[in-house]
């Protein structure tokens, strides 16, 4: 190995443990040799995040498949509650669209199918979509379903189809977070499955909570005017805010 490098690192080695007697020297010599450390918050945060991901990946690689399966179910749930506020709002948007269980079931099923497809395709690297397009579109999907809720008392027959196409978008969104979270190299398919199960569970929790709150009053005459429409308006406004934030800001 080259001598200068040997020297350089030995300096720190020696000062590091046996010459604790000269901590002041250690400071000044390293500053002379290397200049000041430039500790910029932004860069340090980025470095830390990357290190955390590497740590997660190492842990994943060392896990048994059962542990990994459970972990990704948990991750899936977490990516709805509490981290996936936009997905929660979308699902609530669906919830406030219909009083008929059948219709709601159709919508949720087509949403689930769609996002499963794109999540898998994106995670396997078959398709790719840039976040700066997907994210605003997700915000738009929230606005769309919420506004539609205000204009139509009951959903039209095209609704499941539209929800399906929105589901494709949301799947891409899940894939992006999943990618950030880190996927193990082996056992990709079971991992995806587990994550998806987690996402479904998260979704169901949202739906059941909403149902528990509103089921009893859904037949009341004032439900649409005082609950369904105001809630949808609120959802649309938040969606609008995100849309602006993700496109302009």
């Amino acid at each position: 190995m080259s001598l200068p490098k040997t020297l350089l690192f030995c300096i720190f080695l020696v000062l590091g443990f046996s010459a604790f007697s000269h901590p002041e020297d250690e400071l000044i010599i390293s500053e002379i040799e290397q200049g000041q450390l430039s500790m910029q918050d932004q860069q340090m945060t980025a470095e830390y995040e990357a290190a955390l991901k590497r740590q997660r990946m190492r842990r994943l690689a060392a896990m048994s498949w059962q542990q990994r399966f459970l972990l990704f179910i948990k991750a899936g749930i977490e990516h709805i509650i509490p981290k996936g506020l936009d997905h929660i709002l979308f699902v609530l948007g669906l919830f406030f669209s219909s009083l008929i269980i059948g219709s709601l079931l159709w919508q949720v099923t087509s949403f689930t199918l769609a996002h499963t497809v794109t999540l898998a395709l994106a995670a396997l690297g078959i398709i790719q979509a840039p976040g700066n397009i997907v994210e605003p579109l997700i915000a738009f999907s929230i606005i769309y379903v919420a506004i539609e809720n205000c204009f139509f008392k009951e959903t039209n027959k095209w609704r499941p189809l539209i929800v399906f196409s929105f589901g494709l978008l949301h799947g891409l969104g899940f894939a992006a977070v999943l990618n950030e979270y880190g996927l193990p190299e082996n056992g990709l398919v079971p991992t995806l499955l587990a994550f998806n199960i987690g996402v479904e569970l998260g979704q169901l929790i949202v739906l059941f909570s909403a149902a528990a709150l509103f089921w009893m009053i859904r037949k009341k005459s004032w439900y649409r005017q005082w609950v369904q429409i105001p809630a949808s308006v609120m959802i649309a406004l938040v969606g609008l805010f995100w849309f602006i934030e993700r496109t302009i800001l």
Partner: protein, 719 residues
């Protein structure tokens, strides 16, 4: 008094009485005041906050002084057990907090820690002095020393006693009051001058900048340009006035810091600018301004000589070397001069090679110091062409770690189990449990390999917990910190071969810290003399470049293909590149260091320039090469603890080459008998015996330099 020094030195002290109450209040939640019930006693990093350090230091020092008082005032007659062993036990809290704190200052610092470090630093010596100059304590040690023949001590105890007494004596314990006063006076002058030297040098290094326009960048690579633009941007950020900001706007800045200078000297086609930057580097501290170091260096050398004479030594070098493996200036000069001629001859051959390139390019000039990097690179490409990018895919961090684990497994039967659930101070720091051949626990190894903004440059080994058998079996926690480039995205981290040797080197230090098996903690692991402790690290590097071992771990990270022989050959050949230069500049600096510290107290020293010139003329250093450090910026010897010790690196290199040669001679790099000897006589022994004895017990004879000359291509065989 190794322990004393150890504690006194490991410790910093903050004597703020006003914070007392606050300290009491925090004590319940301060993790340093609690027993750590973590796995293997790994520090609970998640609970340790920056504000815990100072109170822990304060309390630690208070406790430490109380413990020393208790030893001194013990009404019983001094015995080994009630004095030396109690000293070993003293300072637990202080050691606990110091280890964590000083590790963090290097590997995971922040502005708050940096400030604490400065605040604590002067207090260190104060606390240290209170112990090393404690007369009552020395009296007890001396009484035991005088009675040593009658005490039936083990050899380890004898060494501890002798070392402890010697540290007291070396701090002036045997001097009369007048002499002591004189020493104290000299010490305070020395410490002032040392600080001044460092501050001057820092000012000189930061003071020069080469501010360039776009058209001055001829020859520079994208990476170098980007770094220079970044330096300019940072300077602009820090600038206070608009005028100053404008100076850096859209400019490129190079500085005399090596990381900035070397790429410029290598790549830039502007000979005039190369000369300017190079000269700014070699003239540091020699500009006849208020930050000039010429007088400072001369005064320091003189004061050290006076101090040595007062203590009864011929020169400062005699004083320092008494505690080293090479015991006298004669031995050191002997080694350095034996290496000097072959190194210089090789350097001259390198000059000729490069001058040939200069001439061939049609230039008229004679090669100068500022041309060296550029033309060396041209020669390297032509003769030793080694494509780093072609090698890296074979050297993923995980593969290399497997390689080094496997090496120690074949040598000593060690096994490593990664502990995924243990969090330490940073998510990039990985934790392994190290087990011996019989499955028993040996220690904890932490590997923190990637570079980051809050980590010091370089690579080092340190520990969070020491080893001792005094009160039951205590096993160590050891850390390796490196600065390898972090992986990009989800790709694995790929290392250069130089990184690989660094990893093996630091791992060698780690093994020294982990295999150690001594009774008294202050003599454990890497506590030995500086010219010996590099040996266990450097010898391990040799295994990294053994083709047989390289092939066992260097597999392509995508295809799994084993590294081809052709690449290995190129790799090994490249290690001989530029060795004439590197050895010459290093040896010149080492000889300069020795010259400075073999001056007599009554010698007439003018300033550093005249002294240095004479010194270099004597050895015949050529103009194209400057000593690795000139006197006015030789911070290791004038601002750090390396006075008369800069030769250590090459001494350790002699040992490692000669030591590895033993395995070669045995015809098996894992020869079980030799491996066992290496472990029992070197890695396990710490400083419980004289270093030279340890080496000869392993090697069967004293070290010789031939193997080193061969390894570095200085034996005349390379062209």
């Amino acid at each position: 008094m190794k322990k004393l020094l150890f504690i006194a030195t490991i410790v910093l002290l903050g004597a703020c009485q006003s914070q007392q109450e606050q300290t009491e209040m925090q004590s319940s939640e301060n993790p340093f005041f609690q027993e750590w019930d973590t796995p293997f006693g790994i520090p609970p990093f998640d609970k340790i906050k920056d504000e815990h350090y100072m109170p822990a230091f304060e309390k630690g020092m208070k406790e430490n002084l109380a413990e020393i008082d208790a030893i001194v005032n013990n009404p019983e007659d001094p015995t080994f057990a009630n004095t030396l062993e109690e000293l070993e036990r003293a300072g637990k809290l202080l050691t606990k907090v110091s280890r964590v704190f000083y590790n963090m200052t290097g590997s995971n610092t922040n502005p708050k820690i940096q400030e604490l470090q400065r605040e604590l630093s002067p207090i260190v010596s104060a606390h240290s002095d209170k112990i090393t100059l404690n007369e009552g304590l020395f009296k007890r040690v001396e009484a035991i020393w005088q009675a040593r023949e009658t005490l039936d001590l083990t050899s380890e105890q004898q060494k501890l006693l002798a070392d402890t007494r010697k540290s007291f004596v070396r701090s002036g314990a045997l001097l009369n009051e007048e002499q002591k006063a004189k020493i104290t006076e000299i010490n305070s002058q020395v410490s002032e001058l040392t600080t001044a030297f460092g501050q001057n040098l820092l000012a000189e290094t930061n003071g020069f900048e080469l501010i360039l326009e776009e058209e001055d960048l001829d020859g520079l690579s994208e990476g170098t340009i980007a770094a220079a633009a970044e330096t300019a941007a940072q300077k602009m950020d820090r600038a206070e006035t608009e005028e100053e900001k404008a100076k850096y706007k859209d400019k490129y800045v190079f500085t005399p810091h090596r990381s900035s200078m070397y790429p410029f000297l290598t790549e830039s086609n502007r000979r005039d600018l190369r000369e300017k930057l190079y000269k700014s580097y070699v003239q540091r501290g020699d500009n006849d301004n208020e930050t000039d170091n010429k007088q400072v260096a001369a005064k320091l050398a003189k004061l050290r000589a006076e101090r040595a004479q007062l203590m009864g030594y011929e020169t400062h070098a005699h004083f320092v070397l008494e505690e080293r493996m090479l015991k006298s200036p004669d031995e050191v000069y002997g080694l350095l001069t034996k290496l000097w001629e072959p190194a210089l001859a090789r350097a001259k051959a390198e000059v000729a090679d490069m001058q040939a390139v200069v001439d061939m390019e049609g230039h008229e000039f004679k090669l100068a110091g500022w041309d060296w990097w550029q033309y060396a690179e041209k020669v390297r490409k032509a003769k030793y062409d080694l494509d780093e990018a072609a090698i890296k895919p074979y050297l993923s961090l995980d593969n290399v770690l497997n390689g080094v684990f496997e090496t120690t497994n074949k040598l000593w039967g060690l096994t490593f189990t990664e502990l995924y659930d243990v969090n330490v101070y940073h998510p990039d720091a990985r934790v392994w449990e190290v087990k011996d051949k019989d499955g028993s626990h040996l220690g904890i190894f932490i590997g923190d390999y990637f570079t980051r903004s809050n980590k010091r440059g370089g690579a080092w080994m340190s520990s969070f917990k020491g080893q001792s058998n005094l009160d039951g079996r205590e096993r160590p926690i050891v850390v390796n910190v490196c600065n390898f480039p972090a992986p990009v995205g989800d790709n694995p981290a790929l290392l250069s071969f130089e990184n690989v040797t660094t990893l093996f080197h630091e791992f060698g230090h780690a093994m020294h810290g982990i295999l150690t098996n001594v009774t008294y903690g202050s003599m454990a692991g890497t506590s030995g003399p500086r010219d010996f402790t590099e040996f266990p690290a450097q010898i391990l590097e040799h295994w990294a470049s053994e083709p047989e071992i390289l092939k066992s771990f260097a597999k392509h990270y995508q295809t799994g293909e084993v590294i081809p022989d052709e690449l290995i050959n190129k790799l090994l050949k490249a290690s001989k590149f530029n060795q004439g230069f590197e050895n010459t500049e290093y040896l010149a600096a080492s000889l300069l260091d020795m010259d400075w510290h073999t001056v007599k107290a009554d010698e007439d020293l003018k300033d550093a320039d005249a002294f240095e010139e004479a010194s270099l003329k004597k050895i015949g250093l050529i103009d194209e090469i400057a000593p690795r450090y000139r006197s006015t910026y030789f911070s290791h010897i004038f601002a750090g603890g390396y006075a008369s010790g800069y030769y250590s690196y090459v001494h350790s290199a002699v040992l490692d080459s000669d030591g590895f040669e033993a395995f070669k001679e045995a015809g098996d790099v894992f020869d079980p008998e030799l491996a066992a000897k290496l472990r029992t006589h070197v890695y396990e022994k710490g400083s419980t015996e004289e270093a030279m004895d340890l080496y000869t017990q392993f090697r069967g004879r004293q070290p010789e330099i031939d193997a080193l000359l061969k390894v570095r291509g200085l034996d005349g065989s390379s062209d």
